[in-house]
Amino acid sequence: MARMKFLCDAERCIECNGCVTACKQENEVPWGVNRRRVVTINDGVAGAEKSISVACMHCSDAPCMAVCPVDCFYKTEDGVVLHDKDLCIGCGYCFYACPFGAPQFPQAGAFGLRGKMDKCTFCAGGPEADRSEAERVKYGRNRLAEGKLPACAEMCSTKALLGGDGDVIADIYRERVLRRGKGSEVWGWGTAYGPGKSGAQPPAGGKS
C-alpha cells in the first residue's frame, strides 16, 4: 500500500528554487502563496550551508486535520492529505498547527483578505472530478491521476527532492547514502553526483 511522501537530500539541494517554480507553474498557485519553498541555513558559510525544500509533508497523523473546526481535511488511500476548499472557512488554525508552515492563505485581495487555505496537494488535486477544469482551477493539476509524480520532485535538477511511495524513495536514498559514504569524504561533486560515465564507480574514499 503506497504512502506518498517527499524526501529532500540536503547534501544535494543547491537552492535553485526549481521546485518552487515548477509547483507555481504546474498548479497556477495564487498570488501570495508558495506551496513549496527552499529553506537555507548557514547561508554563505562554505561547507556549512545547507538547503532543504519544504512543503506539506502529508503527515500520518496530521495536526491540520485534528484542529480544523469544519473538518474539511481528508486523507486519500495513498496517504495524501487534501482538503475541500468549498468547506474551508479560512480561519488559519491549520496554519498555526502545522510545524512546516504548509497551509498558506492568498493575500491578493483588498484589506489583507484571508482567502481559502491553499497547500501542497502532492499534485493530487482535490475533491472535484479528477483531471477536470474545476479541479485544476481550485486545487491545481492532478498528476497522480495521470500516473505521474509531483512536478517539484520530477523537475528537481540534482534529484535532491524525491517524491513517491515512502518505501521506494527511502530505498533510493539509502542506496545513495551507502554509495556516498560518511564523514569528510562526502564532499565534492563526484561524490554527490557521480563520475558522469556509464558503468563507472564513485571515487574511492576521497574528495573529487
Partner: protein
C-alpha cells in the same frame, strides 16, 4: 493443590502483565470529513500518451501503484550512472 494452582495462575498473570506493551503512538481517528467525496487516482483511465512508467488498468490499484513506483525509480539516477 487447587489453591497452589490458583495462586500460580494469578502470579503468572501478574508476572506476564509486566511484559505487556503500551501503545506509544497516537492512534489517529479519521475524524468526520464533511466535504465532498473524492475519487481515487487509479479509478481513472490512463492517459493516451504515457511518457514514462507503465500503464495501469482502470480501477486496479495494484497496477496503478506499480506504474507509479516504476516512475518513481526514474528519480534514481544511480541506476543510470552505475548500473548500465
Amino acid at each position: 493443590m487447587r489453591r497452589v494452582t490458583l495462586g500460580a495462575a494469578v502470579f503468572a498473570a501478574l508476572f506476564l502483565a509486566g511484559c505487556g506493551e503500551e501503545q506509544q503512538v497516537t492512534v489517529y481517528k479519521q475524524g468526520k470529513y464533511q466535504g465532498k467525496p473524492d475519487t481515487q487516482s487509479w479509478s481513472n483511465d490512463p492517459p493516451a500518451n504515457q511518457l514514462r512508467g507503465s500503464t495501469w488498468a482502470k480501477g486496479d490499484r495494484g497496477s496503478w501503484e506499480s506504474a507509479i513506483n516504476q516512475r518513481t525509480m526514474g528519480q534514481n539516477e544511480d541506476i543510470r550512472i552505475y548500473k548500465q
